[in-house]
Symmetry: C2
Subunit: 253 residues, 2 copies
């Protein structure tokens, strides 16, 4: 929560640089060792959590804005973000209006204008990534999907919609490139799918189907040093992966 002084400065700056009425919110899913989590920010002086979001510069392309915002707010860079929906209920920012109504009149408070927010989502390996909060935020935290804090505004809805979209996407697009390390084992990749879908899959059928997509390369050398039998290492075939993103994995008709 802004103090009055901070708010006035923020609004002055925003009016100069940002496009009014449009914001971006990012749902960053993090995965590691069977854990699926979401990146959230806690605002200073406010007992509530938000998805990392922000505003667009007046002449900035949308995708660039999404990447910049995510980087500024969490330090995450070069993350593949996917646009999935615009949220624009006229009342979605009512909590902010209520919060600030006695501090600055609505007419002067750019921050509580109506905003449509463009939802983006991403998948990352949350140990390869080091979220660092920006000035407005007290803390970045990875929350387990089953144990979420109270998300402000419509951010719970945005999160749920992102998850639904991700699960649907799993059926016709490859995932994992931004999420798995360069080399990974088949059981590791399977764990990702199982975690997103919240469902057990058959080892052997998973492998056959996955290989059938033709987006994986198998290394000569299996992983060594672990306990038990040494598994093969796989990596994504970038060209085929990109192609599968465009074309879809298996046509229906």
């Amino acid at each position: 929560m802004f103090t009055k002084q901070e708010l006035i400065e923020f609004c002055d700056n925003a009016r100069k640089n940002y496009l009014d009425h449009i914001s971006i919110d990012c749902v960053v899913f993090g995965f590691h060792e069977g854990q699926l989590r979401v990146l959230t920010l806690k605002m200073k002086n406010e007992e509530s959590w938000y998805l990392p979001g922000g505003f667009m510069l007046k002449e900035e392309p949308i995708e660039m804005a999404a990447n910049r915002i995510l980087k500024e707010r969490t330090g995450l860079d070069e993350i593949f973000l996917q646009q999935f929906q615009v949220f624009g209920d006229p009342n979605r920012s009512r909590p902010h209006r209520d919060m600030y109504k006695d501090i600055l009149p609505a007419s002067e408070n750019w921050f509580t204008n109506r905003f449509l927010t463009i939802g983006y989502y991403a998948l990352v390996d949350f140990v390869n990534v080091n979220p660092t909060p920006d000035n407005h935020s007290e803390n970045c935290a990875w929350y387990d999907l089953t144990d979420l804090p109270d998300l402000k505004l419509d951010h719970a809805l945005i999160l749920k919609t992102a998850l639904d979209t991700l699960r649907l996407q799993l059926n016709y697009q490859p995932i994992g490139y931004n999420l798995m390390p360069k080399e990974f084992t088949m059981p590791e990749l399977q764990k990702l799918y199982e975690t997103i879908l919240d469902k057990k899959l058959d080892r052997r059928n998973f492998q056959r189907r996955m290989l059938g997509f033709g987006i994986l390369n198998r290394s000569e050398e299996p992983r060594k040093g672990g306990a038990h039998k040494a598994p093969y290492l796989y990596s994504f075939d970038l060209e085929n992966y990109q192609n599968a993103l465009k074309e879809g994995l298996k046509g229906g008709w």
Copy 2:
């Protein structure tokens, strides 16, 4: 194209009523007897065609705005519109800026501000629908997809993206409810799929699969009066149809 006087009036009105920086454009696919077409508008005094689009009221929900805009500009009402993507290249409205740069300075011309446009698409039966142009438009026309006029701004991109989305959607969602008459024959429905996909399908396999989805009811009475054997009539089972929209037709994993 606006005259200077019209433009000034339009901008005055827009500033009062519309949300700045956001517009909506609709891709209305029309289908009839094997023809797939797109609804386009020709502006007065301008040799160019547009998708029907417009602006949001300051406190209007997005979906409501999309429906209102489509109705105002074409007369089409109660059409199921599906949001599919936001287009926001900073240069997308450059043609409009160039067009009006000598008529009204950009600082006074709300119309040439930067706009992000939210893309919606719909499918309708174009003989059940009677598009009537609004004041700004000289003409509404259904164009064949293979014979499109020059679409202004980024509207060709929006159309192409909508078509790609529609084709992809065909694989995991039912379509046709807004498009087919209440009762229709299986060959008629097949023709729709073939037209959208631009590909021939097997009659018998199509029917089996379609019925397998469980979203169709067969009437007792076959259609009469046509030449040749009387075909059965089908209608959509609304409840199952809606459910299939939400759940998808066949899960992958």
